[in-house]
């Protein structure tokens, strides 16, 4: 990971849920560790991807880091400061630095509020003043995420899935956070839209320097955006490292099996397609 103190550290995080064993009616309860001693660090202006199959504990980890769910063990450090249990002003300050973008843009946007109001809600919660005025800020943010600023009076249902996800991103960026936590933020989007949103995250990160925790189950997507990768399985970290370490030299069989299962297009066809397209481009010039 990057040199210097990391922006965020998750140390030995634990989450237990109680489950009913042997069916709903038996009444037998058992504690089950959804997240079991998970540690990782997020460098400044870096993107750490957390990958793993469904149920591996990615979202639960993200929720604990985002202070949306209390941890049963371990701690979260932001800028070297323990933020695991802070309340009141401390929690408010934390929320101005850490913002979350969820998978389903529509269910995370209030359908009865205009884009204007949605984007400025975190600012209102923070009681932040806006130099230049809110209207200007909303327009600026909408432009940055690739939305038409003239649509700020519209409601979420008037946008497509990809556009709604941009609204969620604009809202997260309004408070100028240091860390964005994206939980499957591009998973529900079509590939073309997915490519746009990934490029958007990257270009905005280059401009603003925020860090990202990028949670995803699609490793090909992760490879496009991550600097570092944490692989989870059954609540635990299987292995972690830089993107190239994980993708080029995975040490764990579990990581290898995940990589091997990704469907790919016949490389011969891919090569022929590239040659064909190059030839056509050459013929045009």
């Amino acid at each position: 990971m990057s040199a210097g103190e990391p922006l965020l550290e998750a140390r030995n995080l634990v989450k237990e849920f109680t489950t009913n064993t042997g069916g709903v009616l038996s009444g037998k309860k058992r504690a089950f560790r959804a997240v079991d001693d998970v540690s990782f660090a997020v460098g400044r202006a870096r993107t750490v991807a957390v990958v793993g199959e469904s149920g591996s504990g990615k979202s639960t980890t993200a929720r604990m880091v985002a202070r949306l769910m209390p941890a049963d063990g371990g701690s979260v450090l932001l800028d070297g400061e323990d933020v695991t249990h802070g309340t009141g002003a401390a929690l408010k300050h934390f929320r101005s630095q850490v913002q979350v973008v969820f998978q389903d843009p529509f269910s995370s946007l209030n359908p009865r509020h205009t884009v204007d109001r949605i984007i400025t809600a975190p600012l209102d919660y923070q009681g932040m003043g806006v130099p230049g005025g809110k209207r200007q800020l909303v327009k600026g943010l909408m432009e940055r995420v690739g939305l038409n600023p003239d649509h700020s009076g519209r409601y979420p249902s008037q946008f497509s899935g990809g556009q709604a996800q941009r609204i969620g991103i604009a809202r997260a960026l309004a408070v100028k956070p240091k860390l964005l936590i994206c939980d499957e933020a591009v998973s529900a989007l079509d590939v073309s839209v997915q490519a746009q949103v990934i490029n958007l995250f990257k270009s905005l990160q280059a401009e603003d320097g925020y860090s990202i925790i990028f949670i995803a189950h699609d490793l090909a997507v992760v490879r496009q955006i991550a600097h570092d990768v944490v692989v989870m399985n059954r609540g635990a970290v299987v292995e972690s490292g830089t993107r190239d370490e994980i993708f080029d030299n995975p040490t764990q069989p579990y990581t290898r099996s995940l990589l091997a299962a990704i469907p790919t297009i016949n490389p011969e066809w891919e090569a022929r397609r590239r040659v064909n397209e190059q030839r056509e481009r050459a013929a045009l010039t």
Binding site: S160, D190, V191, S192, Q194, D218, I262, I265, R272
Partner: protein, 290 residues
Amino acid sequence: MNRTESKARDDGGALLEVRGLTVTFGTPRGDVDVVRDLSFTVDRRQTLGIVGESGSGKSMTSLAVMGLLPKGATASGSIRLDGVEILGKSDAALRKLRGNSMAMVFQDPLSSLNPYYTVGLQITEAYRAHHNVSRKAARAVAIEALDRVRIKDPHLRIDHYPHQFSGGMRQRIMIAIALCCEPDLVIADEPTTALDVTVQAQILELMADLQAETGTGMIFITHDLAVVSQVAQDVVVMNGGVQVEAGSTEQIFSAPQHDYTRALLAAIPRLDDDLEELKMVGDFRTGATR
């Protein structure tokens, strides 16, 4: 289940022939075609892939073939199954074809399975809808169906409820139900989209094995170009309800003719490409957002 002769006459004609299929929704603001003038054929033992982004009309196409379009939608054109026109057939006639001659596998097995019935009951009901046999005989068929989709201990698992199975297992059960009457045509609409990649790989392998065993014709619908490239011999690329391009899988993937297909192919993140910016289908900063 010993596979007997195909119900369809294998006379060299196409198993399914769709010509000029148009699906129209009546809305307060007038009629909207969500599928327009679509034509394709599916042969026995062959898988036709239909690929496109969300909203491109893939599901409406499959529902039209199955005679399961939602209220408010009408289909026109021609859909011939084994040479016989089925578009416009009565509900009763279509019900007889469904399950028996053509069957469907959906994306989400949990919402297609009834949580209150054992999987055994759900398979036997599907079977008994088309076969006049005793419960006991149907149970034997169901056990064999579970065995065929490689579920271990089928004689025990048959009495379990859907929630007692993992997502991948549930999709195996849906496949068992679809195949229990040995249909000639199976339509799989995003059958692996909700599954983890490792499970997806297992289900795709299972479907290929079963197709080789039974000789079923298949329509495999997906938004995932890599998946379609692995399972299909022929591909139809759809966008906005119309066919953009169609051809053999090799043709589509090695020499796509249409800009839309090319843009889609360029937008997929790969494990081996160089990591410049992903190519975009339309530049969002110029307003072409979706």
